[in-house]
Symmetry: C2
Subunit: 86 residues, 2 copies
């Protein structure tokens, strides 16, 4: 991408992987914010690092996004009635 092009595959070097994760995660969150702002969209983004840490972004609130996702026509029927009352 920058000083040198990289392959889109798991980064072997742990340090480099962590640094890349940190930087791209930040950029990705920014993009999510821009997309929701520019186009009046509701966005929910969840990221779990390889070490199990959770990072999330939601234009409204994650619970609201998840609930909306579960209530979406395409998903009703693909799951039980759980979360409907959240």
């Amino acid at each position: 991408m920058t000083r040198r092009k990289i392959q889109i595959k798991n980064i072997d070097n742990t340090t480099a992987r962590l640094v890349t994760f940190s930087k791209r995660r930040k950029g990705h969150f920014k993009k999510a914010f821009e997309l929701s702002t520019l186009c009046d969209a509701e966005i929910g983004l969840m990221v779990f690092s390889a070490t199990g840490k959770l990072f999330e972004y939601a234009s409204s609130s994650m619970q609201q996004v998840i609930e909306r996702h579960n209530l979406h026509p395409d998903n009703l029927g693909k799951m039980d009635q759980l979360s409907l009352e959240l």
Copy 2:
């Protein structure tokens, strides 16, 4: 961004907003895929357009990501025990 810089605020022109939404959404999904691949992260991304359409991406499956999010220590206790059995 390109032929001209834009402000990060809701795009008034409907046509331009739809085009931008379509393009940025695609790019955003690609970024999500790259981040999960490069850094071995689990990612869930949900996007609801202003018209209510749902677009989603998950490195594994959205239900799995949502479940993991709900089971995350930081979220247990912030909600009821719903979704635990999905």
